[in-house]
């Protein structure tokens, strides 16, 4: 189209309209951006800042100490125990819960009345807050009065100190945590599965593909985005485990807290018990780096062509 004066005018008119739209969008976004900055970005930057200081919550003198907090973390035995425990917790919870959730979603993919009941039943634990759930499981795990040991002893087996035996306690919490999140991941997988167009399966059927071949070549590749999302949130949630450990392992009837020490518990202890905010912030930075690194690995592993 030649650049006649009329065309140029209309072109600028459109641009002007776009500019106004752009300005409008910016104005609408400003409150959200400000909130995001205040609630997310500034606290994260603040944490980095605190991690470089000997910042005691109560003391007025809070000197800059460079990387000393990070050097201390390397030598900190409790941090190492917490890191190992949290890693074990994350590996088990993420691998088992994501795999089981996928299997359940595959089983419940076709809509039916009984299927809806199972979906509801599996999803229910997710909507119950963590504190009451932890208390219920603490009772179920009770060595003397717990229902699990009641069943075991009724079958002539030996009672187990589910929360009192340091070799077992972490795994008891892992089982409870898998039970808690399983339904949520299953529902997410179901959404992903139901969004895969039927024509892919029909084409596969025409080509003679069945069972594992269909899963390997159609279902799994088309679920990669959802699997990535679930894996990332599962990893982040697992690395941030705290409530169930705190509720189930403290108190005179509980397990030794040190045996199931996890990173966020360790950070909580340093920050809010000993008021060493600088050191706790350095631990947060390390946790942030670990989770970020694992998330990037997951992105790499589950990358699809459209990313």
């Amino acid at each position: 189209m030649p650049n006649t004066p009329t065309n140029i005018k209309s072109k600028y008119k459109i641009k002007g309209l776009e500019r106004r739209k752009f300005r409008f969008a910016m104005v609408i976004l400003i409150p959200t951006v400000i909130l995001y900055l205040v609630l997310r970005i500034i606290p994260i930057l603040g944490t980095f800042y605190l991690s470089l200081h000997n910042w005691n919550l109560i003391k007025l003198h809070r000197p800059f100490i460079g990387l000393q907090n990070f050097v201390k973390i390397v030598k900190d035995k409790f941090f190492r125990i917490a890191l190992v425990n949290t890693t074990v917790f994350t590996v088990f919870v993420v691998l088992i819960s994501v795999t089981l959730a996928l299997l359940l979603a595959l089983a419940l993919k076709k809509k039916s009345k009984i299927g809806s009941f199972y979906e509801f039943a599996y999803f229910l634990p997710f909507v119950i807050p963590m504190v009451p759930v932890s208390i219920i499981w603490k009772w179920m795990y009770d060595r003397t009065y717990g229902i699990i040991n009641f069943v075991l002893t009724s079958l002539g087996l030996k009672a187990v100190g589910w929360l009192t035996d340091p070799d077992v306690a972490l795994y008891s919490i892992i089982v409870m945590s898998i039970w808690k999140v399983l339904g949520y991941y299953m529902v997410l997988f179901l959404v992903g599965l139901r969004n895969i167009p039927d024509q892919y399966y029909e084409a596969a059927a025409v080509d003679g593909a069945v069972g594992w071949q269909v899963f390997k070549n159609i279902t799994f590749p088309l679920l990669k985005r959802m699997t990535l999302y679930i894996s990332v949130i599962a990893t982040i949630q697992a690395f941030n485990v705290f409530t169930q450990v705190y509720v189930m392992t403290t108190g005179t009837q509980g397990a030794p807290a040190a045996a199931v020490r996890v990173l966020v518990y360790e950070i909580y202890q340093n920050g809010f018990r000993y008021f060493k905010m600088g050191y706790a912030s350095a631990q947060v930075v390390v946790l942030f780096a670990i989770v970020m690194f694992i998330s990037l690995l997951q992105f790499k592993f589950f990358r699809t062509e459209d990313y």
Binding site: I58, K59, F78, T164, G251, P256, A257
Partner: protein, 428 residues
């Protein structure tokens, strides 16, 4: 005429200001924070009575202890603290050092110095001054089940460690697999670090030891890696692993005692009203902690005091309420109904002892009975918590039976960590 008008206006102004100040005084509201929900009913009753008497409102808030400590740590530096808060002698020094806590008025200081026992005054003195009004002073005591003792042919509580071990062995009942189903004693073995150390400290005190000691230069160091400390850890290991008179797998502490699942345990006074409510048929009594050697023993003693922060805008009313709460009515109620005795030497508690003889041990302090206290150090909680975590791990080690070198190593390693924390805080 003009002067009269001016005089009239002046009088009206004075009257109006007086009315405003009276109304303001009557609308005044103070806040109280406590870290023990058990105390809430008594504080609320006092608050209601105080309002009825003065017209000034008192809002009392109770939080779980750790949440309370966290709130205090955030609110005091920010100047948003309540008008009154009740906390321990080992929590307050850091706030006093930072300049957040006000001194009581002179008349209240006089009341403190003449009304409380010298031990309470001593552990609450920081830099030569007492900042809070002590509310509670608790010594830890031994609980023993009369029925179970009688069945085992025992007439009274153990008087020394040898008897403690002997009685605990006799009182333990095993199942067919040789596992204890009823323990002779329930020692604190896990569940929250500082509490584990505190209970260890009780038996340590009864052996003449302590967690920390102060040098002549005012600096501190770990003291538990001495003979008394090694003997105390040995006692735990023997009772748990050698004689199986205590177990990780049975019910623990007051709950076990109320259910008859253990014959002895060590605690504060609060289990007395707890048993009254939850196990009214339980036949038990209390005793002083048996010493390692007969006639020489000790226990842990700690206090809680009411403090007014410098940030309080109603400090006068706050101190007024603190004194109001120190009336016999509330102090006795707190003792009898909640099991939190006040360390008052100017009050007669004999009526309470007559109604509930298990409390009478609060009045006993024979010669040679030592009170071990929390030192007024900012790092105390971290030291107690981290040592407690090491103890939790050590209590699990059956390999420490008849292994003095192993026990020494556990305590020496822990002492090194304690000294490092002291060093980090400029206290070593």
């Amino acid at each position: 005429m003009r002067n009269r008008r001016l005089m009239g206006l002046f009088l009206i102004l004075v009257l109006a200001l007086s009315v405003v100040s009276v109304v303001r005084a009557r609308n005044e509201k103070i806040s109280v924070w406590i870290g023990w929900s058990q105390l809430l009913p008594v504080y609320q009753e006092a608050a209601t009575d105080f309002e009825a008497k003065t017209g000034k409102k008192v809002e009392v808030l109770a939080f779980p202890l750790r949440e309370f400590e966290r709130k205090l740590a955030v609110s005091l530096p920010a100047g948003n603290a309540p008008d009154i808060f009740v906390t321990s002698e080992y929590i307050i020094p850091q706030y006093i050092e930072a300049g957040y806590v006000s001194l009581p008025p002179k008349d209240i200081s006089k009341f403190i110095s003449k009304s409380f026992d010298p031990n309470t005054l001593k552990i609450n003195t920081i830099n030569g001054k007492i900042y809070g009004v002590p509310q509670i002073g608790i010594a830890r005591i031994l609980y023993w089940n009369k029925d179970l003792f009688a069945k085992a042919g025992l007439n009274g509580p153990p008087k020394n460690w040898d008897e403690l071990v002997e009685y605990a062995k006799k009182l333990t009942v095993f199942d067919k697999n040789g596992e204890p189903v009823r323990t002779g004693i329930s020692l604190r073995k896990f569940g929250g670090g500082s509490g584990v150390t505190e209970k260890f400290q009780i038996l340590l005190a009864s052996a003449g030891g302590d967690i920390l000691k102060q040098n002549s230069d005012g600096k501190w160091r770990a003291a538990y890696n001495d003979e008394a400390g090694r003997a105390t850890l040995q006692l735990y290991i023997d009772l748990i692993h050698k004689y199986k008179a205590d177990s990780f797998d049975t019910k623990q502490d007051s709950e076990a005692f109320a259910l008859g699942h253990t014959a002895m345990f060590i605690r504060e006074f609060w289990p007395i009203p707890y048993f009254k409510e939850n196990a009214p048929d339980l036949k038990y009594d209390t005793a002083l902690i048996p010493g390692k050697i007969k006639g020489k023993s000790g226990t842990v003693y700690s206090t809680e005091s009411a403090f007014v922060p410098k940030s309080s805008k109603n400090a006068k009313t706050a101190w007024e309420f603190v004194m109001f709460f120190n009336q016999d009515k509330y102090v006795k109620k707190m003792f009898e109904e909640i099991g939190w005795p006040a360390p008052r030497i100017d009050m007669d508690f004999s009526d309470i002892f007559a109604r509930e003889p298990a409390y009478a041990v609060a009045n006993e302090r024979p010669a040679g009975y030592k009170y071990s206290t929390y030192p007024p150090l900012t790092a105390a909680d971290e030291i107690w918590t981290k040592f407690g975590e090491r103890l939790e791990a050590a209590f699990r080690q059956a390999s420490l039976v008849d292994n003095p070198a192993g026990i020494k190593k556990v305590l020496d390693d822990a002492a090194q960590e304690t000294n490092d924390i002291l060093r980090e805080n400029g206290l070593y």
